[in-house]
Structures are given as structure tokens and as C-alpha cells.
């Protein structure tokens, strides 16, 4: 039996002979080929039809994982590094090219030895899930783990995660852990860690620096400020959004200023805005969430049945990402007003946000907006991002089902998700 990593000899029907390491090919098309890694390092694929024999030369014996005890330094703060999966916490097996999602504290330290300069690191793998697959239950688990670390007296938390839904997770944790006493720093990587140019290294270094040195106590995202290496940026989790599929500086603050810049080469933190400071109190853990909430993008020519679906399926609330100030079609031939009134009649909250993302919703400027807010009782969620409103509503529905109470809480600024001030300089940064 030949397995991934074994040394083999392959002979083709033409009598050509190749020696190399046998590589499993997971792709669908892989089954028609044998893949070898030659001693030159190159991988080649030979069609199975062309092969006359494949013989084992030497079984692969994986090297033993060495566990090293990391010495604690007395005068340094201690931080907790919780890994959840994603690009930043993968290891490449350079022998075969495979990606190994198991990463230990030692791996993080091996990758970025500089982090030990700032803190004693307690690393723990909480889960191993690509961020797009995270569920409410995973956020709840993460919140409990963070709470445990805080109770133990950690000086700061770093959460490593896939970047796709980093801002959803940061938002969920923001609502689940209020009244924070230490910073919770969410960090990811846009480039895989196998390469010397990966942003995982500066990002992790900045995150550890922030968790151990920053005087703030908020849930924040710490990623590149620009495409250049050199400065990272702290963004309030409930005001952050991934705005680019690939770039290192994909995460931007929306309707908010960055909280601080991190110059990780010189170890400098420059505050850029107001934030909650560290304290000695324990935070409040509130992990209940009602998952029966939907998030819908409004579009021209949209039909009522799309929204009716949420009523028919007993949803407890929906978020609309309306156009402009928070419009939906209300024309004579295709008005969504009737279905939105049905939500109200059934006592299901409808929250309006804007697909513009930037700027504040407004329930009064045009008469259709007044129809929505006054006749259909749609709740206009100030300058909250649609994803944030979605998570906030799940959080609120976990506490109450009372429509008035829901409205009151939705419009209460709990953790910075509503910016009372529309700052002139907070657009496109």
C-alpha cells in the first residue's frame, strides 16, 4: 500500500523511470494521474494510463513533533492567543506541499519570535474552522473561552481567525462580552503563511503588541493600514468591514475613525480616536442569541414573496439593507409596503440599514421613508452596518421579544456600533 509521502519508483509504459515522493492529489481531476515530487523539488503528473508499475522504495516516517516548554518571563504581561482556524493558523508541510491546520503556541512563536518580546503567550486552539463556516454556536464557544481567560487574569486576548467573517465574529463577541476590562484583538492574514511575504507575521506581531501594551479595552480588528508593510490599524470590531477580496489592507473602518496605528517595527502605538480604557472589573457575559433572524439586500424590482418567506417560516426579525437612506420599492405596481406592514402586524421587527454602508439611514427625508417608518414601523438603525444590525438583533432577541423594547435597544449604542457623530473625516479611510 502506497501512501502520501512515501518514496516510490514509477515506470512508464515507454520504460521511463521516475523516483520521487508520492503525493495525494485531492482535486477532483486528480484520480487520472499519479503525482510525484522529484528530488529537484518539482511536482510532475503522469497519466495513469501511461504507467506500467509503481513500487514502494521507502515508507514515509513522519518526524516526531518536538514539544518545547516555553519559559515565562516575570516582568512581561501575559496574553492569551486563541486560534480558531483560517489562513493565519495553517502550517505548510514543505516536504509534500500539504497544508496542516494544526498549529501550536510554539509554531506561532517559531513563526514570529518577536512576539515573546512583548508578552508571555498562552496559546490555545479553540476550534479549527474556516471563518465562512462559523455559526452562532461557535461564537458562543469563543466568548466562553475568552471569558475564562479574562477570569484567569489575562492581560489581553488575541483571536486568530479566517478573514472572511472576521468582522461578524468581532461584532458577536462585542455584544456577548460587554463592559470589557482588557482588549480583545481579532487578527487574520490575507496571504498564506508559507511565504516570506505573508501579512500573518506583521499582523500577529501587531496584535500581540496591542493585546499586551494598548491601554484600550475594546473588541478590535488589527490588520494592515495600507498595502505597505510597516503600520497596522486598530478598528472597532462593530465598525469594521472587509472591503476587498485580497488586499492586505482589506479591513476598513466604516462611519468611524481608526482607534490607533501600530508601528510594529518600532513598538509604537499612536492613538487616533477615543476608546474605552482598561479597568479592573470583570466583563458581563451574555451569550444568548436568537438565530431566527434574516438579512436581506433590497434591489429594484424586488417582489413581496422574497420577504413573505420570512413570515411564512416564522422568523423573529429581519434586517434590510435598503437603498440610499433606507428605501425599498414602494411604487404603485410593486410596493413592498404591504408585506412590511404584515411583519409589523405579526410583531416581527424589521430593521432598516443602508447598502451604501457609509452614512446614516433616515426615516423622514422622503415620504416613502415616512411610510416605512410610520406606517410599517420599520426601525431605522442609524449608521449601523447591516451585518452589525443582524448580529445585534439576534443578541437583543435573545433577551426580549417585546417590540417596543427591541426598538429601544436597537437604537441604544451599546458598544460603539452607533456613532452619534457623523464625522467628516470618516469617509473612505
Amino acid at each position: 500500500m502506497i501512501n502520501h509521502g512515501d518514496k516510490v519508483r514509477l515506470i512508464t509504459k515507454d520504460g521511463e523511470s521516475f523516483e520521487g515522493i508520492y503525493i495525494d492529489t485531492p482535486e477532483l481531476s486528480g484520480k487520472d494521474f499519479i503525482t510525484l515530487k522529484l528530488s529537484s523539488g518539482y511536482n510532475i503528473g503522469i497519466s495513469k494510463k501511461e504507467i506500467s508499475s509503481l513500487d514502494l522504495i521507502k515508507k514515509n516516517i513522519p518526524p516526531e513533533e518536538k514539544t518545547q516548554v516555553i519559559k515565562k518571563k516575570k516582568d512581561l504581561p501575559s496574553i492569551s492567543l486563541l486560534s480558531t482556524g483560517g489562513t493565519i493558523s495553517c502550517k505548510v508541510d514543505y516536504r509534500t506541499g500539504g497544508v496542516n491546520p494544526k498549529i501550536t503556541a510554539q509554531d506561532f512563536i517559531n513563526n514570529v519570535p518577536e512576539i515573546t518580546k512583548y508578552a508571555n503567550i498562552n496559546a490555545k486552539q479553540v476550534m479549527q474552522i474556516p471563518s465562512e463556516n462559523l455559526t452562532v454556536k461557535d461564537w458562543q464557544k469563543l466568548a466562553r473561552e475568552i471569558y475564562k481567560e479574562i477570569k484567569k487574569g489575562t492581560d489581553g486576548i488575541v483571536v486568530t481567525m479566517g478573514t472572511d467573517t472576521l468582522h461578524y465574529s468581532a461584532t458577536a463577541i462585542s455584544f456577548m462580552l460587554k463592559n470589557l476590562n482588557v482588549p480583545i484583538v481579532f487578527v487574520g492574514a490575507q496571504r498564506s503563511v508559507d511565504r516570506g511575504s505573508s501579512d500573518a507575521y506583521p499582523n500577529l506581531l501587531s496584535a500581540v503588541m496591542t493585546a499586551s501594551k494598548w491601554d484600550g479595552a475594546e473588541v478590535i480588528i488589527c490588520m494592515h493600514k495600507t498595502t505597505n508593510d510597516g503600520l497596522n490599524m486598530l478598528i472597532r470590531g462593530v465598525k469594521a468591514r472587509k472591503m476587498h477580496t485580497e488586499r492586505r489592507d482589506a479591513f476598513r473602518p466604516i462611519n468611524d475613525l481608526p482607534l490607533a496605528f501600530i508601528d510594529y517595527e518600532r513598538g509604537l502605538i499612536t492613538p487616533k480616536s477615543n476608546y474605552r480604557k482598561r479597568s479592573k472589573e470583570l466583563p458581563k457575559l451574555e451569550i444568548e442569541m436568537d438565530e431566527k433572524v434574516g438579512l436581506i439586500y433590497i434591489y429594484p424590482n424586488m417582489k413581496q414573496d422574497v420577504l413573505q418567506h420570512f413570515i411564512d417560516n416564522d422568523y423573529h426579525g429581519i434586517i434590510l439593507a435598503g437603498t440610499g437612506f433606507g428605501h425599498v420599492p414602494t411604487g404603485p405596481s410593486n410596493s413592498l409596503l404591504p408585506v412590511l406592514k404584515r411583519f409589523n402586524n405579526k410583531g416581527i421587527p424589521v430593521i432598516m440599514t443602508s447598502q451604501c454602508l457609509y452614512g446614516r439611514t433616515n426615516p423622514y427625508v422622503y415620504s416613502p421613508l415616512r411610510q416605512l417608518s410610520m406606517e410599517a414601523k420599520v426601525i431605522f438603525a442609524e449608521d449601523m452596518l447591516p451585518e452589525v444590525a443582524y448580529i445585534k438583533l439576534m443578541h437583543i432577541l435573545g433577551k426580549t421579544k417585546d417590540l417596543e423594547e427591541i426598538k429601544k435597544l436597537m437604537l441604544t449604542n451599546m458598544v460603539g456600533e452607533i456613532n452619534p457623530l457623523s464625522q467628516v473625516n470618516s469617509f473612505l479611510i
Binding site: 521511463e16 492529489t25 482535486e27 481531476s29 494521474f33 503525482t35 522529484l38 528530488s39 529537484s40 523539488g41 518539482y42 511536482n43 510532475i44 503528473g45 503522469i46 497519466s47 501511461e50 505548510v92 514543505y94 516536504r95 509534500t96 506541499g97 497544508v99 509554531d107 517559531n110 513563526n111 519570535p113 490575507q190 496571504r191 498564506s192 503563511v193 508559507d194 511565504r195 516570506g196 511575504s197 505573508s198 507575521y201 506583521p202 498595502t227 505597505n228 508593510d229 510597516g230 485580497e246 488586499r247 492586505r248
Partner: protein, 628 residues
């Protein structure tokens, strides 16, 4: 010193040479849609990045050392808004591999009778000099096991790789290195031969033949830096030296000769030293006391600034360090190269160049006593900060020890302008490579490979050109010319202009324009030639006018050929127009006409109509008018 010449008995010397040829393709980039365009205008943006040593398979790589080296380095990448994109900046995954480049790789594989893999994998090869913003170069093993027919038999072609070009280094200031990403990602073919060449001339022939063969695809870049050779050279008793990035094909035989000469002389010196039974002594000797009152300026300056002066024995090296081993290069240069590459110190003083630098016989003999030198032993000393000096002396001692063990180390060398070479780095171990996970492997079905036509071979092309009337000499020139593609295109466009005329003008225009008008013709593009020949095809100008029109276009590249011809008064005239001009001139010069001064009047007329009508017609018409 023994100089080698081309008459040397190479077989006896056991010369063995293998080639690795790197050729840029003339397509868009390999993993994005950016054009393969090198630019000299100011970049639109500069991106700053750091690289990190990544933990992984250690092997020969000392991660800690690389980490230290990279820590202080900052890389700046220069790019353009309209010709570079996020892919080059490592901000977007690679796009699927450029199909045009795949096609060329198949064509070259077929021309070299190579076997193409059923499935190719794009690999990431780790590079840490910053030349790739990613930290790796993408490369794929494409085909193997081909052969090239030569005058001395078949040469086996080992492999063909399809890979991406690195960025261009623009400048290096302290630890800030500037790279321009315009070159990054240009498709590159790397063709390796077995080390089957036995004479410098054979190397030249193989390099030339492979270059010509690749060009038959019509899809390769021409010009400086677009084709580079790595030359692997050894002789019996020597070792493989890889000379990296050689660009001048016409000098390749000399390069080989020089390297053979270096190895030959090193072997000779090695044997001489072995006979003296050398013993390495790693003691460092402080020479400050002996040299305290020296007249040597060099040493004085060092002493005044509190620098160290430390010496070592170079056992059995006396009298050999000034031996020339390669052209004008002394044996001592081998040691200097190592110092320069491996330490911050750029030179050392050795006893074979003393007395000198103000150091006296007396001081020399005192040093020799201190170091316990026999008449066969040389000594060396270095000045500077203690840590640096000791590092440098250890490098010198290591090189001495290495030389006593083997005459020629296996290493990578860099070609100097005079075709000698210098040490660049030790031969790297196996490259660290792993698959490019952002791309699928490329399956090369038999149908796809069969669908790609083998381009004409140089022999077939030669025959075809002979058939359309070119002389053998012209064929040889045009087939090697940078304008081969343009020639083919023009022959297919123009039916009335003869291929010989086209070839002649293409081959000679640059020189002629320079000679006649002192104008540099580098701004002339294919469209200018086609535009100019079009006037000839349509009968609007005479053949003789072309060079002048092209010269005008070289100066005014935005003009059309017709505009050039008109403003130069080179548009063809009819016989009727000629008669009018002649009539006018006769009228203006009645006396001369009455005297039937044909020669003088002919001169006047030609001044007006040269290049616009056949000279014989002018003469005939004028004679008729003058009735002579």
C-alpha cells in the same frame, strides 16, 4: 601562469560544459494580463514590504541566519498604474497560466523533441532576495528528455521549465532595495542541456542553436537581457562552477576558456602547495606592537582610529598569491572575492605584495618571526573592528583550508565584463519548492498538444527564403535578425516589393540612418517600416527614398510615411511633371540650354527630383529637350 587558447587540447583537459538557457517570451505576463513591458519613466507608485524567513524544511537553510539577514532589509516595489496590477504586488492570487506561453512551451518542446508531462504543477520556489514580492518564484517542470542535433553529434536536452521572471533591481541603498515589478512575471523558458560540450566552440554552437530554435516560435523577446545563459563548467581535477546570467552569446566561448583556465591554474597551484605539506594554524596574531611606529599610511590611519591589526599565517602560500590564474586576475583575488561576499571587509594585505604600502623589510621579518613563518609560508593581515577582522580572517583561513583540500570548489560565479568571473555564493542545496496552492495543475491532453503546430525549423525557413529569391548570405542574416518576424509579415503584405529589397532595408536601415543623418533609429517601430514600404508598394516613392523617409520617421515618430515623403519632397512624379520641371529649369537657364550644357542642367534637375523618379528617365527627357 598558464594561458589557455582555443588550440588547447580540450579533450586532455577534460572540459565538460552544460548550459541552462533562459529566454523571455514576448507575450503578456504568465499569471496576469499585464503587458511584458519594461519602462524607464518614473513609477506611479512604490510599495514597501518586508520579507521573513519562513520555518519549514531546514536542510541547508539556516533559518536563524536568514532571519537575521532579512530583518534589516526593506524592499520597495516600483510599479505603474496602467501596466502593473495587484498580482505582481502579491495582493491578488495568480490568474490561470497564460495559454499563449503554454503554447510556446509546447512548440519549443516539440522542436527539441522533448516529452511533455501529462500534467504539470506550478511550484513555488523560495527566493529571499526580494526580487519577488511573494517571497517565491513560480515555476513548472514542463517537459524532459529531448535532443539537439549539432556538428559534433546529438546533445541531450534534460529539461524545460516554464517560469516567471523576477523584478528588476533598480538600486540598493544601505538595506533599502528597490525593485521594479515591470519585469516580474514575464514568461521565461529555462532549457537545460546535459554537460556534453567538450570545447568552447561547441558551447557557442549549442547556445546559438537553441537560441535560434526558440526564436522560430516568433514569440520571444529580443534585446539585451532577454536571453541569459547559466554555464556549468568543469575540467578534470576541477569542479563544477556555475556562471550565472551570462548575456553575450558572441563571447560565450571566451567565457568558457577563461573559466577552464582558472580551474587549470588553481589545480596547478593546489598541487604545488600540497607538495609543501601545509598545516593550517588558526592563531590570530596582534600586529599592533610590531607596526606601532610604521611609516605605512594605511596602518597608521588604522592605529590612529583605534582599529585592530590582526595577522594570520597562510601556510605554504608564499610566492603564489600574485600568480595570475585567469586573465589578469591574481590568485589572491580568489580570497578577496570571498571577503567581499561573506564579510563587510573588502580587502587584505598579504606578504607576496610586500614590501609595499610603506611596510619595510624589517617589519616583514618581525611579523614572520612572530607568526613562525617558514620560507614557504605567506602571511596576511586585516585592519578594522575586532569582530569584523576576526570574521574576515576566519573566512581567509577557511578558504586556505578549502584550497588545500580541493583545488576548485563547486560554487556559483558571476561574469565580469572582461569575461573573467567572481565568486557569488556557494552552490545551493536542493531548492525549497512546494505547490502553488492558488492554481490548479494544468492537464496537457494529447489533443491539446497535437493541436499545436511545430513551427518551421531554421532549415525549413532557410529553404523557403531561398525559394523567394533571397541569397544565402541574406537568409543567414535575416534568420538571425531581430526583424525576422517583421520581415515575414512584410513579405506576406507586399506583393510588388521584392523580398530581397525588404530584407536589405530591414538589415541596413539602422546603420544607414546613423551614417547618413546621424540619427538614432531606436524609435522606429514595425508600423513605421510597414507604412514606408506601403508607399513603395503603391508606387508613390522610389526605392532610393526609403532610408531618408525612415530617418525622418525616426526623428518624428508621430508622422506618417506619406507626410515624411511630402515634406522631404520625395513623392514620385510623373513623366509629365518631370517635363514641366525641366521646361522651367531650361527657361530659367536659357544660356546654358542654348549651349547644350547637359551635365550642369542635369545637376539642376536632379537636385529637384532625386529619389522621385528614375535617374535614367530624367537624363533621357533632358536630352530630348536639349536635342542632344
Amino acid at each position: 601562469m598558464i594561458f589557455l587558447t582555443f588550440e588547447t587540447d580540450w579533450e586532455k583537459l577534460g572540459l565538460k560544459v552544460g548550459l541552462e538557457i533562459h529566454q523571455q517570451l514576448d507575450t503578456h505576463k504568465l499569471f496576469c494580463n499585464c503587458p511584458s513591458l519594461l519602462r524607464d519613466d518614473n513609477p506611479d507608485f512604490i510599495v514597501k514590504r518586508k520579507l521573513k524567513a519562513v520555518v519549514g524544511e531546514t536542510g541547508n537553510v539556516d533559518i536563524a541566519a536568514i532571519h537575521e539577514e532579512l530583518k534589516d532589509k526593506t524592499f520597495f516595489y516600483e510599479g505603474y498604474d496602467d501596466t502593473t496590477c495587484l498580482v505582481e504586488l502579491d495582493e491578488e492570487p495568480p490568474h490561470p497560466i497564460n495559454p499563449e506561453a503554454l503554447e510556446v512551451a509546447v512548440q519549443v518542446s516539440k522542436l527539441l523533441k522533448m516529452k511533455i508531462f501529462d500534467r504539470i504543477y506550478i511550484m513555488r520556489k523560495t527566493v529571499i532576495d526580494g526580487s519577488n514580492p511573494t517571497g517565491f518564484q513560480r515555476t513548472a517542470f514542463f517537459s524532459r528528455d529531448g535532443l539537439l542535433k549539432t556538428s559534433f553529434g546529438d546533445v541531450k536536452i534534460t529539461s524545460l521549465m516554464l517560469e516567471e521572471e523576477a523584478s528588476r533591481k533598480m538600486k540598493e541603498e544601505n538595506n533599502n532595495i528597490y525593485w521594479r515589478v515591470d519585469r516580474l512575471g514575464i514568461p521565461l523558458l529555462e532549457i537545460s542541456t546535459e554537460p556534453q560540450m567538450r570545447t568552447p566552440d561547441q558551447v557557442r554552437e549549442v547556445a546559438e542553436k537553441i537560441g535560434l530554435l526558440i526564436r522560430m516560435t516568433g514569440k520571444v523577446k529580443r534585446g539585451k537581457g532577454t536571453i541569459r545563459q547559466d554555464v556549468n563548467i568543469s575540467i578534470v581535477g576541477g569542479n563544477r562552477a556555475e556562471i550565472k546570467g551570462f548575456q553575450e552569446l558572441q563571447d560565450i566561448a571566451n567565457l568558457v576558456k577563461f573559466e577552464a583556465e582558472r580551474q587549470y591554474n588553481l589545480i596547478r597551484l593546489h598541487e604545488k602547495i600540497k607538495l609543501r605539506n601545509p598545516k593550517i594554524d588558526r592563531t590570530f596574531f596582534d600586529l599592533k606592537k610590531i607596526l606601532a611606529k610604521t611609516e605605512s599610511k594605511l596602518v597608521k590611519t588604522a592605529l590612529e582610529s583605534n582599529k585592530e591589526i590582526i595577522g594570520i599565517k597562510m601556510p605554504s602560500f608564499a610566492g603564489l598569491l600574485k600568480d595570475k590564474i585567469q586573465g589578469e586576475r591574481y590568485f589572491a583575488k580568489e580570497f578577496v572575492d570571498y571577503l567581499k561576499v561573506l564579510t563587510g571587509i573588502s580587502g587584505f594585505i598579504h606578504s607576496d605584495e610586500l614590501p609595499g604600502y610603506g611596510i619595510t623589510e624589517k617589519e616583514i621579518s618581525q611579523i614572520k618571526v612572530l607568526l613562525n613563518c617558514s620560507i614557504y609560508d605567506a602571511f596576511a593581515f586585516v585592519t578594522g573592528e575586532k569582530k569584523e577582522v576576526e570574521k574576515a580572517l576566519n573566512v581567509l583561513l577557511d578558504r586556505c583550508e578549502q584550497f588545500i583540500k580541493e583545488a576548485v570548489p563547486s560554487e556559483v560565479r558571476f561574469p565580469n565584463d572582461d569575461l573573467t568571473t567572481k565568486f557569488l555564493r556557494p552552490m545551493p542545496g536542493a531548492e525549497r519548492m512546494y505547490p502553488e496552492t492558488d492554481l490548479l495543475p494544468v492537464d496537457l491532453s494529447k489533443n491539446f498538444i497535437d493541436s499545436i503546430k511545430i513551427p518551421e525549423t531554421p532549415e525549413e525557413k532557410t529553404q523557403r527564403f531561398l525559394n523567394i529569391g533571397l541569397s544565402q548570405d541574406l537568409v543567414d542574416q535575416i534568420i538571425r535578425s531581430r526583424d525576422l518576424n517583421l520581415f515575414e509579415k512584410m513579405v506576406s503584405i507586399f506583393k510588388k516589393v521584392s523580398p530581397t529589397n525588404i530584407a536589405n532595408i530591414l538589415l541596413s536601415s539602422a546603420d544607414e540612418i546613423k551614417k547618413r543623418y546621424n540619427i538614432d533609429s531606436s524609435s522606429l517601430k514595425d508600423k513605421h517600416y510597414i507604412d514606408a514600404f506601403n508607399l513603395l508598394e503603391e508606387g508613390k516613392v522610389a526605392k532610393e527614398a526609403l532610408i531618408e523617409i525612415l530617418a525622418y520617421l525616426a526623428r518624428e515618430p508621430n508622422s506618417t510615411a506619406l507626410e515624411a515623403a511630402k515634406s522631404l519632397n520625395l513623392t514620385k512624379i510623373s513623366e509629365k511633371e518631370l517635363e514641366e520641371i525641366i521646361d522651367k529649369i531650361i527657361k530659367e537657364n536659357e544660356t546654358l540650354a542654348a549651349e547644350k550644357q547637359f551635365q550642369i542642367l542635369m545637376g539642376f534637375v536632379m537636385r529637384k527630383v532625386r529619389g522621385r523618379i528614375d535617374g535614367e528617365i530624367v537624363a533621357e527627357t533632358l536630352k530630348k529637350k536639349l536635342k542632344v
